[in-house]
């Protein structure tokens, strides 16, 4: 019975709630709750307004991707991998394609590599804008999501133009990308970048420098650097803790090593600095995209691959990593030389942030900040569930 109550967003009473004498009671947040990112649940034990125990519950979005991939042809999986992380789907596609390329020793045309970087960074940009909106929503500043998410829509329009899909792009293929730029695309990307850059001061005024945001986010969910590394934090969350690790630099892929960008770090490692690190990354990302547009060479965008219905990837295994907007993404792919992958293991970026770290950081936090904390970690439930 107890776990069923989780379903109705806490609208029924938990058995524990009656025992108010010992001042501890249970509260479920989610899965139907705006305070969680996606379909995810938190089981909290509270004492007063303070959380004394926190458990996450995932699996509401479990589809068994890794199993499904084993039943599909290599090329068919391109259409499903992007579903693993909904707000930031492209690292999945790119990682999957790169794993096959590594196994089959396929060379990717340089133009395609640049386009991939462009798509990845646009996706990162979109994902960060989404997170800004989400984070602002948790503190009740609904103007910000209205702004940032509709600005994100401009990026989705670009995606639609380039890849034919707004959210799921199904665009990276083993050997390159599916289509070249449409005519005049680069200038439209620049327009959107200029637009978003122009919007950033507005965001600062409204949101990032908002007194109430500071009041609420500073000092929430502090994750010291040592602890962060011990707990396997990656990506922006680790950089917010002052450790400059970025897969794009340290384990460079595609053409990232030809592009100039910094790894911004902050040292406070609280909810606010995790938000601000993304704010800084937006600037970095815009810079990267501009460089891509400047440097992109002419040439083919796809290296011809065999008939997908009869394409056997040589046996072997490979571990590819990339930096998504949420952290380190990795695919471990095993091929037995058949037409289907033998095993694909997806290491979503949020598996550490969304489960272990969140559970630990929630303890001692007040109930008001629970959802803010989750959004600041930018944990993406479908990555955990797969």
């Amino acid at each position: 019975m107890s776990e069923l109550v989780t379903a109705n967003d806490g609208s029924s009473l938990m058995p524990g709630a009656k025992s108010l004498e010992n001042r501890e009671y249970n509260l479920f947040i989610g899965p139907n709750h705006p305070g969680v990112e996606g379909n995810f649940a938190l089981k909290l034990t509270l004492e007063g307004d303070t959380i004394v125990k926190a458990k996450t519950e995932a699996g509401f979005l479990h589809r068994g991707f890794e199993k499904l991939m084993e039943e599909r042809l290599f090329i068919q999986n391109i259409a499903i991998v992007c579903r693993i992380c909904v707000p930031d789907p492209d690292p999945n596609e790119e990682n999957y394609a790169r794993a096959i390329e590594a196994l089959a020793d396929i060379e990717v045309p340089r133009r395609a590599q640049f386009i991939r970087v462009l798509v990845l960074e646009l996706s990162r940009l979109a994902s960060h804008l989404f997170t800004f909106g989400g984070h602002a929503g948790t503190i009740g500043l609904y103007t910000m999501p209205n702004w940032s998410i509709s600005d994100r829509d401009r990026i989705l329009d670009l995606f639609e133009e380039l890849t034919g899909g707004r959210v799921y792009h199904i665009y990276n293929m083993p050997g390159g990308v599916r289509r070249d730029f449409p005519a005049g695309f680069a200038s439209r990307v620049r327009d959107v970048l200029d637009y978003i850059e122009g919007r950033l001061p507005d965001y600062d005024n409204l949101f990032f420098n908002n007194r109430i945001l500071r009041k609420r986010a500073v000092g929430i969910g502090v994750l010291p650097r040592e602890r962060a590394m011990e707990w396997g934090t990656t990506g922006p969350n680790l950089r917010a803790a002052g450790f400059a690790h970025d897969v794009r630099k340290d384990d460079s892929y595609e053409v990232y090593n030809e592009l100039e960008f910094d790894i911004p770090t902050l040292k406070d490692s609280d909810a606010y600095s995790r938000l601000m690190i993304r704010r800084k990354e937006v600037v970095q990302t815009i810079g990267i995209i501009r460089q891509v547009l400047d440097k992109i060479p002419e040439g083919p965008v796809w290296n011809k691959q065999p008939n997908p219905l009869k394409w056997r990837v040589p046996a072997g295994d490979v571990y590819v990593r990339s930096e998504s907007s949420k952290g380190e993404y990795a695919y471990y792919m095993v091929s037995d030389g058949g037409v289907r992958p033998y095993r694909v293991h997806v290491r979503g970026a949020s598996v550490t942030h969304g489960v272990h770290i969140l559970e630990n950081l929630l303890v001692g936090t007040r109930i008001e900040d629970a959802s803010q904390l989750m959004f600041s970690l930018d944990a993406c439930p479908p990555e955990v569930d797969r």
């Binding site: 069923l4 967003d9 609208s11 139907n32 709750h33 379909n39 479990h62 909904v86 998410i149 959210v167």
Partner: protein
């Protein structure tokens, strides 16, 4: 005989016309289609133009959007939520997954056709439907309510046994704490069968 609660008199029709201008949808991201809801809610597409707002609790919600696939684990919650919602209530299925399993047709974890478990008002094609299509769907729903055609929810009372059986087939018996037969009596629906 089959006169429904929403279509009793001329006065009712007038009220229905007003009522259709306010629809609250449940803020529940059941699947990946939910990622197109924030754009729909926010400035770019602004569904509040049609009086549609996200609501966080099922008690107040009129629309349940099933945004894509439902894992069995989520379905359990969805059924609970659906029963907690106050009639009249409308379920909209988003995308392929709700119709015939979509791309998770061979997954062990997701259900394949939504209308086996709860009555569905209509479906939107797409994987996932674009915000434009979602808005289009909402206006369709508004039109249907205005015309008194959006009565799929009555089906749950009429064929409660059927839905119950299918639900139990996938996740066993649960106590939803909602007295569906009592509701049916209120709407004078259950009596038809007796």
């Amino acid at each position: 005989m089959e006169k429904t609660i929403t279509q009793r008199s001329a006065w009712d029709k007038v009220l229905t016309k007003l009522q259709k201008r306010s629809l609250w949808m449940l803020h529940y991201c059941t699947g990946c289609g939910a990622v197109e809801l924030p754009p729909t809610m926010t400035a770019r597409f602004d569904m509040e133009r049609f009086g549609i707002m996200p609501m966080v609790t099922p008690r107040q919600a009129d629309i349940l959007l099933i945004t894509g696939y439902l894992s069995v684990k989520t379905l359990k919650r969805v059924v609970l939520i659906y029963e907690q919602m106050q009639s009249p209530k409308y379920v909209v299925g988003f995308g392929s997954c709700t119709i015939n399993g979509g791309m998770y047709w061979n997954s062990y974890a997701t259900i394949k056709s939504l209308d086996q478990y709860i009555p569905v008002e209509f479906y939107l094609a797409g994987c996932m439907p674009r915000p434009e299509a979602i808005i289009e769907g909402f206006t369709e729903l508004i039109d249907r309510i205005g015309e008194g055609k959006a009565n799929s929810w009555e089906d749950y009372y009429k064929n409660y046994e059927f839905y119950r059986k299918n639900q139990e087939h996938v996740f066993g018996t649960i106590d939803t704490r909602t007295d569906i037969p009592d509701d049916a009596k209120y709407f004078k629906i259950g009596e038809v069968e007796k």
